[in-house]
Protein backbone atom coordinates (compact mmCIF):
# COMPACT_ATOMS: atom_id res chain seq x y z
CA UNK A 1 0.00 0.00 0.00
CA UNK A 2 2.78 2.39 1.04
CA UNK A 3 4.81 1.14 -1.96
CA UNK A 4 1.92 1.91 -4.40
CA UNK A 5 1.48 5.44 -2.93
CA UNK A 6 5.21 6.07 -3.32
CA UNK A 7 5.09 4.90 -6.95
CA UNK A 8 2.20 7.26 -7.86
CA UNK A 9 3.95 10.17 -6.12
CA UNK A 10 7.01 9.43 -8.21
CA UNK A 11 4.95 9.62 -11.43
CA UNK A 12 3.26 12.87 -10.31
CA UNK A 13 6.63 14.43 -9.55
CA UNK A 14 7.97 13.07 -12.85
CA UNK A 15 5.09 14.58 -14.88
CA UNK A 16 5.30 17.87 -13.02
CA UNK A 17 9.05 17.99 -13.67
CA UNK A 18 8.56 17.11 -17.35
CA UNK A 19 5.86 19.76 -17.64
CA UNK A 20 8.09 22.39 -16.06
CA UNK A 21 10.95 21.34 -18.30
CA UNK A 22 8.64 21.54 -21.34
CA UNK A 23 7.43 25.00 -20.34
CA UNK A 24 10.96 26.18 -19.85
CA UNK A 25 12.17 24.60 -23.08
CA UNK A 26 9.33 26.06 -25.20
CA UNK A 27 9.59 29.33 -23.31
CA UNK A 28 5.95 29.16 -22.27
CA UNK A 29 4.62 28.67 -25.81
CA UNK A 30 1.65 26.62 -24.64
CA UNK A 31 0.71 29.23 -22.06
CA UNK A 32 1.00 32.01 -24.58
CA UNK A 33 -1.10 30.14 -27.14
CA UNK A 34 -3.73 29.44 -24.55
CA UNK A 35 -3.61 33.08 -23.46
CA UNK A 36 -4.10 34.26 -27.03
CA UNK A 37 -7.04 31.87 -27.55
CA UNK A 38 -8.67 33.14 -24.37
CA UNK A 39 -7.98 36.74 -25.30
CA UNK A 40 -9.30 36.45 -28.88
CA UNK A 41 -12.91 37.53 -28.14
CA UNK A 42 -11.76 40.80 -26.61
CA UNK A 43 -8.95 41.61 -29.07
CA UNK A 44 -9.34 44.68 -31.38
CA UNK A 45 -11.65 43.56 -34.21
CA UNK A 46 -11.76 44.34 -37.93
CA UNK A 47 -13.26 47.76 -37.24
CA UNK A 48 -10.25 48.73 -35.19
CA UNK A 49 -7.95 47.33 -37.88
CA UNK A 50 -9.68 49.60 -40.39
CA UNK A 51 -9.23 52.58 -38.08
CA UNK A 52 -5.54 51.80 -37.85
CA UNK A 53 -5.30 51.43 -41.66
CA UNK A 54 -7.19 54.68 -42.10
CA UNK A 55 -4.76 56.35 -39.71
CA UNK A 56 -1.85 54.94 -41.66
CA UNK A 57 -3.34 56.21 -44.93
CA UNK A 58 -3.83 59.68 -43.46
CA UNK A 59 -0.26 59.63 -42.23
CA UNK A 60 0.96 58.51 -45.67
CA UNK A 61 -1.04 61.19 -47.49
CA UNK A 62 0.31 63.86 -45.13
CA UNK A 63 3.83 62.60 -45.77
CA UNK A 64 3.16 62.54 -49.52
CA UNK A 65 1.87 66.12 -49.38
CA UNK A 66 4.95 67.22 -47.44
CA UNK A 67 7.26 65.46 -49.90
CA UNK A 68 5.40 66.96 -52.86
CA UNK A 69 5.66 70.43 -51.36
CA UNK A 70 9.33 69.84 -50.71
CA UNK A 71 9.80 68.53 -54.23
CA UNK A 72 7.99 71.54 -55.72
CA UNK A 73 10.09 73.94 -53.66
CA UNK A 74 13.28 72.29 -54.95
CA UNK A 75 11.96 72.21 -58.52
CA UNK A 76 11.10 75.89 -58.27
CA UNK A 77 14.64 76.55 -57.09
CA UNK A 78 15.93 74.67 -60.16
CA UNK A 79 13.40 76.40 -62.47
CA UNK A 80 11.82 73.08 -63.47
CA UNK A 81 8.13 72.34 -64.01
CA UNK A 82 6.16 71.79 -60.83
CA UNK A 83 3.85 68.86 -60.21
CA UNK A 84 0.95 70.56 -58.54
CA UNK A 85 -1.76 67.94 -58.79
CA UNK A 86 -4.36 70.09 -57.09
CA UNK A 87 -4.81 72.11 -60.26
CA UNK A 88 -6.74 69.61 -62.28
CA UNK A 89 -9.80 69.95 -64.45
CA UNK A 90 -12.03 66.90 -64.84
CA UNK A 91 -13.65 66.45 -68.23
CA UNK A 92 -15.77 63.86 -70.00
CA UNK A 93 -14.84 62.38 -73.37
CA UNK A 94 -17.55 63.45 -75.84
CA UNK A 95 -16.02 62.02 -78.99
CA UNK A 96 -13.40 59.39 -79.54
CA UNK A 97 -11.34 58.64 -82.61
CA UNK A 98 -8.60 56.51 -81.17
CA UNK A 99 -8.19 54.08 -84.07
CA UNK A 100 -8.64 56.26 -87.11
CA UNK A 101 -6.08 58.10 -89.23
CA UNK A 102 -5.93 60.64 -86.42
CA UNK A 103 -5.83 59.47 -82.81
CA UNK A 104 -7.75 62.10 -80.92
CA UNK A 105 -10.38 62.74 -78.27
CA UNK A 106 -12.84 65.58 -77.83
CA UNK A 107 -13.52 66.56 -74.24
CA UNK A 108 -16.23 68.74 -72.78
CA UNK A 109 -14.06 71.42 -71.14
CA UNK A 110 -12.49 74.28 -73.01
CA UNK A 111 -10.80 77.63 -72.72
CA UNK A 112 -13.71 78.96 -70.62
CA UNK A 113 -12.49 76.94 -67.63
CA UNK A 114 -8.82 77.48 -68.35
CA UNK A 115 -7.88 74.62 -70.66
CA UNK A 116 -4.95 75.67 -72.83
CA UNK A 117 -3.11 74.19 -75.79
CA UNK A 118 -0.26 71.94 -74.70
CA UNK A 119 -1.69 70.98 -71.31
CA UNK A 120 -1.23 67.38 -70.22
CA UNK A 121 -4.25 65.10 -70.21
CA UNK A 122 -4.25 62.11 -67.89
CA UNK A 123 -6.66 59.25 -67.43
CA UNK A 124 -6.84 56.42 -64.91
CA UNK A 125 -3.40 54.86 -65.33
CA UNK A 126 -1.37 57.78 -66.60
CA UNK A 127 -0.79 60.25 -69.40
CA UNK A 128 -2.94 59.81 -72.51
CA UNK A 129 -2.08 62.90 -74.53
CA UNK A 130 -1.79 66.65 -74.85
CA UNK A 131 -4.38 69.30 -75.61
CA UNK A 132 -4.06 70.15 -79.31
CA UNK A 133 -6.66 72.88 -79.64
CA UNK A 134 -9.46 74.43 -77.63
CA UNK A 135 -12.83 76.07 -78.14
CA UNK A 136 -14.66 77.92 -75.34
CA UNK A 137 -16.49 74.72 -74.34
CA UNK A 138 -14.43 71.84 -75.72
CA UNK A 139 -10.85 70.76 -76.27
CA UNK A 140 -9.24 68.37 -78.71
CA UNK A 141 -6.67 65.98 -77.28
CA UNK A 142 -3.92 64.50 -79.41
CA UNK A 143 -3.24 61.02 -78.06
CA UNK A 144 0.24 59.66 -77.42
CA UNK A 145 -0.52 56.98 -79.99
CA UNK A 146 -1.02 59.46 -82.85
CA UNK A 147 1.63 58.90 -85.54
CA UNK A 148 4.46 61.38 -85.17
CA UNK A 149 3.38 62.67 -81.75
CA UNK A 150 6.58 63.18 -79.73
CA UNK A 151 7.05 63.63 -76.01
CA UNK A 152 10.04 63.59 -73.66
CA UNK A 153 10.07 60.56 -71.36
CA UNK A 154 12.51 58.54 -69.34
CA UNK A 155 13.04 55.19 -67.70
CA UNK A 156 12.98 55.81 -63.98
CA UNK A 157 15.17 52.81 -63.08
CA UNK A 158 18.07 53.56 -65.41
CA UNK A 159 17.52 57.35 -65.64
CA UNK A 160 17.71 57.10 -69.43
CA UNK A 161 15.99 59.81 -71.43
CA UNK A 162 14.21 59.24 -74.70
CA UNK A 163 11.58 60.55 -77.07
CA UNK A 164 8.24 58.77 -76.88
CA UNK A 165 6.89 58.70 -80.43
CA UNK A 166 3.39 57.67 -81.46
CA UNK A 167 3.37 54.98 -84.14
CA UNK A 168 -0.35 54.66 -84.75
CA UNK A 169 -0.67 51.52 -82.64
CA UNK A 170 -1.48 51.31 -78.94
CA UNK A 171 2.22 50.88 -78.24
CA UNK A 172 4.32 53.99 -78.84
CA UNK A 173 8.04 53.77 -79.42
CA UNK A 174 10.55 55.19 -76.93
CA UNK A 175 13.57 56.23 -78.96
CA UNK A 176 16.61 56.51 -76.69
CA UNK A 177 19.07 59.34 -76.87
CA UNK A 178 22.09 57.20 -75.97
CA UNK A 179 23.09 53.59 -76.40
CA UNK A 180 24.07 51.94 -73.11
CA UNK A 181 22.18 50.59 -70.11
CA UNK A 182 18.82 51.39 -71.64
CA UNK A 183 15.90 49.44 -70.27
CA UNK A 184 14.55 46.05 -69.40
CA UNK A 185 11.15 44.59 -70.08
CA UNK A 186 8.83 45.68 -67.28
CA UNK A 187 10.53 49.02 -66.57
CA UNK A 188 8.18 51.93 -65.89
CA UNK A 189 8.23 54.86 -68.31
CA UNK A 190 7.39 58.27 -66.87
CA UNK A 191 7.57 61.88 -67.93
CA UNK A 192 11.04 63.24 -67.43
CA UNK A 193 11.74 65.13 -64.17
CA UNK A 194 14.01 67.42 -66.18
CA UNK A 195 11.18 68.37 -68.52
CA UNK A 196 10.37 72.05 -68.86
CA UNK A 197 7.20 71.32 -70.84
CA UNK A 198 5.41 68.56 -68.93
CA UNK A 199 4.79 67.89 -65.25
CA UNK A 200 7.39 65.40 -63.98
CA UNK A 201 7.01 61.79 -62.93
CA UNK A 202 3.67 61.05 -64.53
CA UNK A 203 3.27 57.40 -65.44
CA UNK A 204 3.13 56.70 -69.16
CA UNK A 205 3.52 52.96 -69.51
CA UNK A 206 5.59 49.81 -69.17
CA UNK A 207 8.42 48.66 -71.43
CA UNK A 208 7.34 45.61 -73.44
CA UNK A 209 10.19 45.17 -75.87
CA UNK A 210 13.71 46.57 -76.20
CA UNK A 211 15.83 46.68 -79.36
CA UNK A 212 19.30 47.88 -78.37
CA UNK A 213 20.82 47.12 -81.77
CA UNK A 214 18.38 49.19 -83.81
CA UNK A 215 19.72 51.87 -86.13
CA UNK A 216 19.90 54.88 -86.14
CA UNK A 217 19.04 54.71 -82.42
CA UNK A 218 17.93 51.98 -80.03
CA UNK A 219 14.30 51.91 -79.02
CA UNK A 220 11.79 50.32 -76.67
CA UNK A 221 8.13 49.56 -77.29
CA UNK A 222 5.95 50.90 -74.49
CA UNK A 223 2.56 49.55 -73.46
CA UNK A 224 0.49 52.49 -72.21
CA UNK A 225 -0.99 52.09 -68.75
CA UNK A 226 -3.97 54.28 -69.60
CA UNK A 227 -5.99 52.95 -72.53
CA UNK A 228 -7.62 55.82 -74.46
CA UNK A 229 -10.16 53.42 -75.92
CA UNK A 230 -11.67 52.66 -72.53
CA UNK A 231 -11.51 56.04 -70.84
CA UNK A 232 -14.65 58.15 -70.46
CA UNK A 233 -13.33 60.73 -67.99
CA UNK A 234 -9.98 62.50 -68.10
CA UNK A 235 -8.17 65.14 -66.10
CA UNK A 236 -6.30 68.09 -67.52
CA UNK A 237 -3.29 69.31 -65.57
CA UNK A 238 -3.30 73.08 -65.48
CA UNK A 239 0.37 73.63 -64.77
CA UNK A 240 1.57 73.69 -68.35
CA UNK A 241 0.21 74.96 -71.63
CA UNK A 242 0.19 78.05 -73.75
CA UNK A 243 -2.45 80.64 -74.62
Amino acid sequence: MIKARGKSRFWIIFFMGALLFGIRWTKGAGYLDLYSILLKPILPGTAQREWIKQGENIERSIRLKLLEDDNNRLRRALSLKESNFEQRISAAVISRSSRNWWKQLEINKGSKVGVLKGQTVIGPGGVIGLVDSTTPLTARVRLLTDPGHQLGAWIDRTKQHGVLTGMGTNRPKLIFLNTNGLAKIGDAVTTSPASTLLPPNLTIGIVQFVNEKALPSPYAIVQLTASPEAIDWVQILKNNGQK
Binding site: R99, W102, G148, M167, E229
Partner: protein, 166 residues
Protein backbone atom coordinates in the same frame (compact mmCIF):
# COMPACT_ATOMS: atom_id res chain seq x y z
CA UNK B 1 -39.37 76.24 -103.89
CA UNK B 2 -37.02 73.68 -105.35
CA UNK B 3 -34.10 76.03 -104.78
CA UNK B 4 -35.07 76.44 -101.12
CA UNK B 5 -35.32 72.68 -100.77
CA UNK B 6 -31.82 72.33 -102.20
CA UNK B 7 -30.43 74.89 -99.76
CA UNK B 8 -32.12 73.12 -96.88
CA UNK B 9 -30.77 69.83 -98.15
CA UNK B 10 -27.20 71.17 -98.36
CA UNK B 11 -27.53 72.62 -94.85
CA UNK B 12 -28.81 69.31 -93.48
CA UNK B 13 -25.99 67.47 -95.25
CA UNK B 14 -23.43 69.72 -93.60
CA UNK B 15 -25.02 69.23 -90.18
CA UNK B 16 -25.23 65.46 -90.72
CA UNK B 17 -21.60 65.25 -91.79
CA UNK B 18 -20.48 67.16 -88.72
CA UNK B 19 -22.66 65.02 -86.47
CA UNK B 20 -21.43 61.78 -88.03
CA UNK B 21 -17.79 62.86 -87.77
CA UNK B 22 -18.03 63.98 -84.15
CA UNK B 23 -20.51 61.51 -82.66
CA UNK B 24 -18.97 58.57 -84.56
CA UNK B 25 -21.65 56.09 -83.43
CA UNK B 26 -20.23 52.79 -82.23
CA UNK B 27 -22.83 50.71 -84.07
CA UNK B 28 -21.54 52.15 -87.35
CA UNK B 29 -17.93 51.13 -86.82
CA UNK B 30 -15.72 48.22 -87.77
CA UNK B 31 -12.78 47.67 -85.42
CA UNK B 32 -13.42 51.15 -84.01
CA UNK B 33 -13.20 52.76 -87.44
CA UNK B 34 -15.88 55.01 -88.95
CA UNK B 35 -17.05 55.10 -92.54
CA UNK B 36 -15.32 57.74 -94.66
CA UNK B 37 -18.13 60.32 -94.49
CA UNK B 38 -16.54 62.82 -96.89
CA UNK B 39 -16.52 60.16 -99.62
CA UNK B 40 -20.13 59.19 -98.92
CA UNK B 41 -21.23 62.82 -99.27
CA UNK B 42 -18.96 63.83 -102.13
CA UNK B 43 -19.85 60.87 -104.34
CA UNK B 44 -23.50 61.79 -105.12
CA UNK B 45 -22.68 65.50 -105.30
CA UNK B 46 -19.92 64.91 -107.86
CA UNK B 47 -21.99 62.51 -109.93
CA UNK B 48 -24.77 65.08 -110.31
CA UNK B 49 -22.68 68.19 -110.96
CA UNK B 50 -20.17 69.55 -113.46
CA UNK B 51 -16.45 69.00 -112.77
CA UNK B 52 -15.99 72.66 -111.84
CA UNK B 53 -18.81 72.63 -109.30
CA UNK B 54 -17.72 69.26 -107.96
CA UNK B 55 -14.12 70.44 -107.57
CA UNK B 56 -15.19 73.57 -105.68
CA UNK B 57 -17.52 71.45 -103.54
CA UNK B 58 -14.70 69.00 -102.77
CA UNK B 59 -12.37 71.81 -101.66
CA UNK B 60 -15.02 73.20 -99.31
CA UNK B 61 -15.79 69.72 -98.01
CA UNK B 62 -12.08 69.06 -97.50
CA UNK B 63 -11.60 72.31 -95.58
CA UNK B 64 -14.65 71.48 -93.47
CA UNK B 65 -13.54 67.91 -92.63
CA UNK B 66 -9.93 68.99 -92.01
CA UNK B 67 -11.13 71.35 -89.30
CA UNK B 68 -12.17 68.30 -87.22
CA UNK B 69 -8.82 66.58 -87.39
CA UNK B 70 -5.42 67.14 -85.81
CA UNK B 71 -2.13 67.22 -87.64
CA UNK B 72 -1.16 68.40 -91.06
CA UNK B 73 -2.41 65.67 -93.40
CA UNK B 74 -5.37 66.89 -95.44
CA UNK B 75 -8.39 65.42 -97.20
CA UNK B 76 -8.39 68.15 -99.85
CA UNK B 77 -6.00 66.68 -102.50
CA UNK B 78 -7.67 63.28 -102.63
CA UNK B 79 -11.21 64.66 -102.53
CA UNK B 80 -10.35 67.14 -105.28
CA UNK B 81 -9.11 64.39 -107.62
CA UNK B 82 -12.04 62.12 -106.77
CA UNK B 83 -14.56 64.88 -107.45
CA UNK B 84 -13.13 65.42 -110.95
CA UNK B 85 -13.12 61.70 -111.74
CA UNK B 86 -16.61 61.06 -110.41
CA UNK B 87 -18.01 64.14 -112.08
CA UNK B 88 -16.60 63.08 -115.45
CA UNK B 89 -17.99 59.59 -114.88
CA UNK B 90 -21.38 61.00 -113.89
CA UNK B 91 -21.63 63.07 -117.08
CA UNK B 92 -21.16 60.04 -119.29
CA UNK B 93 -23.15 57.45 -117.39
CA UNK B 94 -26.85 57.77 -116.84
CA UNK B 95 -27.57 54.67 -114.76
CA UNK B 96 -25.36 55.48 -111.85
CA UNK B 97 -27.92 54.98 -109.10
CA UNK B 98 -27.25 51.27 -109.21
CA UNK B 99 -26.74 50.06 -105.70
CA UNK B 100 -23.52 48.12 -106.20
CA UNK B 101 -22.07 50.63 -108.62
CA UNK B 102 -22.23 53.34 -105.94
CA UNK B 103 -20.73 50.97 -103.36
CA UNK B 104 -17.84 50.07 -105.64
CA UNK B 105 -17.08 53.73 -106.37
CA UNK B 106 -17.17 54.50 -102.66
CA UNK B 107 -14.76 51.62 -101.97
CA UNK B 108 -12.25 52.85 -104.53
CA UNK B 109 -12.71 56.43 -103.33
CA UNK B 110 -12.13 55.51 -99.70
CA UNK B 111 -9.03 53.51 -100.59
CA UNK B 112 -7.71 56.48 -102.56
CA UNK B 113 -8.43 58.92 -99.69
CA UNK B 114 -6.84 56.54 -97.18
CA UNK B 115 -3.72 56.03 -99.29
CA UNK B 116 -3.43 59.78 -99.75
CA UNK B 117 -3.59 60.40 -95.99
CA UNK B 118 -1.09 57.61 -95.35
CA UNK B 119 1.29 58.99 -97.97
CA UNK B 120 0.99 62.51 -96.53
CA UNK B 121 1.72 61.24 -93.03
CA UNK B 122 4.84 59.44 -94.27
CA UNK B 123 6.04 62.68 -95.89
CA UNK B 124 5.24 64.84 -92.86
CA UNK B 125 6.50 62.55 -90.06
CA UNK B 126 10.01 61.33 -90.76
CA UNK B 127 9.74 58.74 -87.98
CA UNK B 128 7.29 56.76 -90.12
CA UNK B 129 9.97 56.38 -92.80
CA UNK B 130 12.09 54.20 -90.48
CA UNK B 131 9.78 51.27 -91.05
CA UNK B 132 7.73 51.08 -94.22
CA UNK B 133 5.29 48.48 -92.94
CA UNK B 134 2.68 50.28 -90.87
CA UNK B 135 0.27 47.71 -89.49
CA UNK B 136 -2.05 50.43 -88.18
CA UNK B 137 -2.38 52.00 -91.64
CA UNK B 138 -3.37 48.69 -93.21
CA UNK B 139 -5.81 48.14 -90.39
CA UNK B 140 -7.41 51.58 -90.78
CA UNK B 141 -7.43 51.39 -94.58
CA UNK B 142 -9.02 47.95 -94.83
CA UNK B 143 -11.60 48.59 -92.09
CA UNK B 144 -12.54 51.98 -93.53
CA UNK B 145 -12.93 50.55 -97.03
CA UNK B 146 -15.17 47.74 -95.76
CA UNK B 147 -17.45 49.91 -93.62
CA UNK B 148 -17.71 52.63 -96.29
CA UNK B 149 -18.48 49.99 -98.90
CA UNK B 150 -21.33 48.76 -96.71
CA UNK B 151 -22.74 52.17 -95.76
CA UNK B 152 -22.31 54.08 -99.04
CA UNK B 153 -24.89 52.18 -101.11
CA UNK B 154 -27.59 53.27 -98.65
CA UNK B 155 -26.55 56.84 -97.86
CA UNK B 156 -25.06 57.84 -101.21
CA UNK B 157 -27.88 56.31 -103.28
CA UNK B 158 -30.42 58.10 -101.14
CA UNK B 159 -28.52 61.38 -101.46
CA UNK B 160 -28.19 60.90 -105.22
CA UNK B 161 -31.92 60.31 -105.62
CA UNK B 162 -32.68 63.35 -103.47
CA UNK B 163 -30.31 65.49 -105.56
CA UNK B 164 -32.12 64.29 -108.66
CA UNK B 165 -35.54 65.14 -107.27
CA UNK B 166 -34.38 68.62 -106.31
Amino acid sequence: MAKNNKKLFILLTIICLQACTIISPDWLKINGINPCWPVILLLPFSLRNSPRKAAIGSIFLGIFVDSFTIGDASYIPSLFILSLVWSAYGLHNKKIELFLNIGLMAIFGTAFVGLSLWFQKIIIYSILRNNWFHAWSFHVLISEVIITGLVAPFFSSWLLLTYKKN
